[in-house]
């Protein structure tokens, strides 16, 4: 070891080496950060400071076929809690202020625990303005509590439409998982009815405003003066085939009854009215639904949530006689002049009774009088499988594919079914009841509506639907949706014959002569579906005007008895509302207040 190392070349080299080494390490590190991994940091930096703020578009509104607004958007206050800043000791206070059951706020917070605590949770929509002022006054004592103005659904035409329109509710965790590209917790989505089926049309497209936030997430200003902002696009305004007035009449007539009503335009398959009764108040769903309301609906023995128009399955009763008549005529197993003798019943293994002795009856009068004996005989002439073939042609035993989702397919038996059930020698006597629409045959009111439409329009219509199209916001034009065309390819003469029978049901000596009126002719068929659990279900199918059908109606009223008495008058009122619209309006303006006519004008 040399004695003097001061400022030796060695030591200089070491310091030199250290300096250059540090420079080299720093340079490499900078190159790695700023050139190689630049994008990772850049993304983080952008995410840090640019916050996208969702712009929720207005949901599309519903117009009826006459451009009356049935469903629109109305502003409402929504109370929100941001859990990160919220003090749970406020739960009780909020429960009291909101006027809800104790524990309500807590339960909502609990349900939303799975989401980031920085996302505000909607606690209650549609809060009263007095609550809003209370929030404003006490905001300093309410950390993490705020309110926003949101749009909720309004129903300005006075139409309930509970099973038609459906309601929106906060997106579920499962749906969120499936469509996380679009929905965020707290978004509203259509839950059933048209709201669900046309969700993608109705919701529009979310927009984003980009704002700059500082390190404390405070908003400082617009990012690039809003150049990068994407404006939201309003949802499509749907034009429904529904006639608000017919729907309203149907709802009024069905109030207090259980059952379903469907009105349809025969030539187009457009649903004019669809009611399932009892209904429920959609307005309740505009708020954050208190559990109580849903539970109430679930536990109601009358099952208001159940859409009877598309889901309830019942034997069609005598309304099904038309089907057998068409099948028989089309197959040529009878002619219009073929008569069958009715002595009050029919014996096949056992005795099947008729409600009278109709004597020698041809098909027209058999329909007019609803002669059971004629149709007991007829189904044997047709054969079970052929009969099913025609039923299937008319759309039974399958879903109609209507555009409101939930639907039942119903059931039409065939030989294979009975063979499976009873063996090769299944009792052929079973068939007799099927001929008059009783027994193991089940249909939905909607299927019957399609069936009437097909009869009224000589076997041609379109798939039943509720939405005609949407209004193009730019051009103001109506863009129609396309629906599948249906053509049964059955000769017009066949329809002419059964339609004569149906004409006589009302206009002749039939079972619904009380519908006769001076303004137009109604054709129809009454029915009574046997109910082993209680009083029979009343049915009526019909259309009007008989000469040029514009509206076909099917009415089912549960547990009331005979169809002509209980179902047919409801159909008549709906036909009036549709066919005599102008006349009724004039009456109203003349007799009540002229102001009302003005109030009904929509812009």
């Amino acid at each position: 070891m040399s004695a003097v190392d001061f400022a030796s070349v060695n030591r200089k080299s070491i310091l030199y080496g250290i300096i250059v080494l540090v420079f080299a390490i720093f340079s490499v590190r900078l190159f790695q950060m700023q050139v190689i991994n630049h994008e990772i940091y850049d993304e983080k930096s952008a995410g840090n400071s640019i916050k996208p703020i969702e712009q929720i578009p207005l949901r599309g509104v519903f117009y009826d076929r006459n451009m009356n607004v049935l469903v629109d958007n109305i502003p409402a206050y929504t109370l929100r809690i941001t859990p990160a800043y919220y003090d749970t000791s406020l739960n009780k206070v909020l429960d009291k202020v909101l006027g809800v059951n104790p524990g309500f706020v807590q339960s909502i917070l609990k349900r939303n625990q799975i989401y980031s605590k920085y996302i505000p949770i909607r606690v209650r929509r549609g809060i009263d303005f007095s609550i809003v002022s209370w929030l404003e006054e006490n905001s300093e004592f309410l950390p993490g509590v705020d309110y926003i103005v949101e749009m909720q659904r309004g129903y300005p035409y006075g139409v309930m439409g509970s099973h038609l329109f459906g309601y929106t509710k906060e997106v579920s965790a499962q749906q969120l998982e499936k469509e996380k590209d679009y929905y965020k917790p707290g978004d509203y989505v259509g839950h059933n009815g048209i709201e669900k089926q046309y969700e993608k049309d109705l919701r529009g497209e979310k927009g984003f405003h980009y704002v700059l936030v500082d390190s404390r997430r405070r908003e400082i200003g617009r990012y690039k003066d809003g150049q990068k902002d994407k404006e939201s696009i309003k949802g499509r305004d749907l034009i429904l085939s529904i006639d608000g007035d017919v729907q309203k009449v149907a709802e009024e007539e069905m109030r207090g009854k259980k059952g379903a009503v469907v009105a349809i335009e025969p030539s187009t398959g457009e649903i004019l009215a669809l009611v399932s009764s009892p209904e429920y108040d959609l307005n309740q769903f505009s708020y954050i639904t208190s559990k109580d309301f849903l539970e109430e609906l679930y536990s109601d023995p009358d099952k208001p949530l159940f859409n009877r128009a598309t889901m309830s399955l019942k034997p069609p009763g005598s309304t099904f006689k038309i089907l057998a008549a068409i099948a028989a005529l089309d197959l040529g197993v009878i002619t219009p002049s073929t008569t069958i003798y009715c002595g009050g019943g029919f014996t096949f293994g056992r005795f099947f009774k008729c409600h009278g002795s109709h004597g020698s009856t041809n098909v027209i009068h058999a329909i007019e009088k609803s002669c059971n004996t004629f149709f007991y005989n007829l189904i044997y002439k047709i054969g079970l499988d052929k009969w099913k073939e025609y039923a299937t042609k008319f759309g039974f035993n399958q879903k109609t594919g209507i555009d409101i989702g939930e639907e039942a397919a119903g059931f039409i038996p065939d030989e294979a079914y009975y063979k499976k059930l009873y063996g090769e020698n299944w009792p052929r006597s079973i068939m007799a009841s099927l001929g008059i629409g009783q027994g193991e045959v089940s249909v939905t009111p909607l299927q019957l509506a399609k069936y009437v439409a097909l009869i009224a329009n000589d076997g041609k219509t379109f798939k039943p639907h509720i939405v005609k199209g949407y209004l193009d916001n730019k051009s103001g034009e109506i863009i129609p949706y396309q629906f599948e065309k249906i053509d049964l390819n059955i000769r017009k003469e066949v329809f002419d014959i059964v339609k004569e029978g149906m004409y006589l049901v009302v206009q002749g000596a039939g079972t619904a002569t009380h519908l006769r009126n001076p303004d137009y002719h109604i054709s129809g068929k009454t029915g009574t579906a046997q109910n082993p659990h209680g009083k029979d279900h009343a049915l009526f199918i019909g259309y009007a005007p008989s000469e040029n059908p514009k509206i076909a109606v099917i009415v089912v009223v549960e547990n009331v008895g005979f169809g002509g008495t209980h179902a047919a008058p409801i159909a008549k009122k709906m036909m009036d509302a549709y066919l005599l619209k102008d006349k009724l309006k004039n009456q109203k303006t003349n007799t009540v207040q002229p102001v009302i006519a003005g109030a009904q004008v929509e812009d």
Binding site: M1, A3, V4, D5, F6, A7, S8, R11, K12, I14, L15, Y16, I19, V20, V22, F23, I25, F26, S27, R29, L30, F31, M33, Q34, V35, N37, H38, I40, Y41, D42, K44, S45, A46, N48, S49, I50, L212, V213, D214, S215, I220
Partner: protein, 409 residues
């Protein structure tokens, strides 16, 4: 003796120009990072003022007779110690440390000033030794000169500055010619102290290494025992010191051990600093265009994190220019140190180099995420009047030495 009248012979532009460019870049970065920041109103103006003062100090120091540098070493050191004691009593507390002396609207950090006093006195003492420092007594005296200010600064407490002191003292000793054993005696307590921070196992392990090393040096029992005792004491002293630290400093040490342990707390600055630099890319986001800087993601960025603003707004190019300017400065200082014939002046130049270099190493290393967060400013660039004036004062000393370098045989 031949006298060269060319100005470049009396005034080293290879130092002055890089430093001046660094000062200008620093001013731009301070302007950018304090713009629209309510917490830093007038900071740019203050920095501009301090810079002008600093340049005046620089030229004055440049002009004084060179031998007066040696004369101020003892009074300078004593004054430093007095000021460090004063600040502990009447100092102003800024971000957890009592390091500021206030004079009306002005304030300064005695610990900055103490760097000069310590360098000068240590150089003065070492110059008196004719040979290498390998006697135990010499080492102890040298260490004592350093440890008095370090101890006082640790009491403020200011970890970063203490670390700077340790580093430049070691480099000065190294330059003087400390033996391997001497270096071991000086370094080992520091290493043991750092290991003790990581827990008892590394602490015991480092003590064992010291034992093995002592055995290797084959010195007498008294010497070995004393060195071991110093090491042991250093470990326990660190432990006590750690407990005496303020929570924010403990947190900093914790995040030094595991920086990502708390991304929103103590690790926050480190992560945001790296995001700022990395997102700058090759060309940078442009002056006043860095969102990390402009949106104040890093608290008090204009001081210790100024290099982020440069990295973000001027990109890889800007960051490399700053690195290169420092490289030129350091190599030039090293060159002057090794060509200066006078031992005292040479040691002073190395001391100045060591101060600049350790600041640079810790500051940039921290910003680019390869060293823990230790708050020290980047010389000539960071906001801070005391640091700017003291750095320019030291540069003036170096330039003064350069001016008269040919006067010594």
């Amino acid at each position: 003796m031949r006298i060269d009248y060319k100005i470049s012979d009396k005034f080293d532009f290879k130092i002055f120009i890089p430093v001046t460019i660094l000062v200008l870049i620093g001013l731009a970065a301070v302007y950018s990072s304090t713009l629209n920041n309510p917490a830093a109103v007038n900071n740019f103006e203050k920095q501009l003022f301090a810079t002008i003062v600093a340049y005046i100090v620089f030229f004055l120091t440049y002009a004084i007779p060179t031998n007066s540098i040696k004369f101020i070493s003892i009074p300078g050191y004593v004054l430093s110690i007095i000021l460090l004691l004063t600040v502990l009593v009447i100092g102003r507390k800024i971000s957890g440390a009592k390091s500021w002396l206030a004079f009306g609207p002005f304030g300064f950090q005695p610990s900055e000033f103490a760097k000069i006093g310590t360098i000068l006195l240590l150089a003065n003492f070492l110059t008196r030794l004719n040979n290498n420092i390998d006697s135990f007594k010499d080492i102890l005296i040298a260490l004592a000169i350093g440890f008095i200010p370090i101890g006082l600064i640790l009491l403020e407490p200011d970890m970063g500055t203490s670390f700077i002191f340790i580093s430049f003292i070691l480099i000065i000793l190294f330059w003087k010619g400390i033996s391997l054993l001497g270096l071991f005696v000086v370094l080992s307590p520091g290493l043991v102290a750092v290991s003790s921070l990581f827990g008892s196992v590394p602490f015991v392990a480092s003590l064992l290494i010291v034992l093995v090393a002592l055995f290797f040096f084959k010195k007498d029992l008294f010497f070995s025992g004393s060195v071991f005792a110093i090491n042991l004491a250093a470990g326990f002293f660190t432990d006590n010191l750690y407990n005496a630290l303020s929570p924010h400093q403990q947190a900093r040490i914790k995040s030094f051990i595991d920086p990502m342990s708390d991304p929103l707390g103590t690790g926050y600055n480190s992560i945001q600093a790296m995001v700022a630099v990395g997102s700058g890319g090759f060309f940078g986001k442009g002056f006043l265009q860095g969102n990390q800087t402009q949106l104040q993601y890093i608290p008090e960025q204009w001081t210790d994190f100024i290099y982020c603003a440069i990295g973000e707004e001027f990109g890889f190019i800007g960051a490399m220019i700053v690195l290169s300017l420092f490289l030129i400065l350091f190599l030039r200082l090293l060159n002057i140190a090794s060509t200066t014939k006078d031992e005292f002046l040479s040691l002073v130049v190395v001391g100045v180099l060591a101060v600049y270099f350790t600041h640079f190493l810790i500051n940039v290393g921290m910003v680019i995420g390869i060293l823990p967060i230790i708050g020290v400013p980047l010389p000539f660039v960071s906001y801070g009047g005391s640091s700017m004036v003291v750095n320019m004062f030291m540069l003036g000393i170096v330039m003064n030495i350069f001016r008269t370098r040919k006067n010594y045989a």
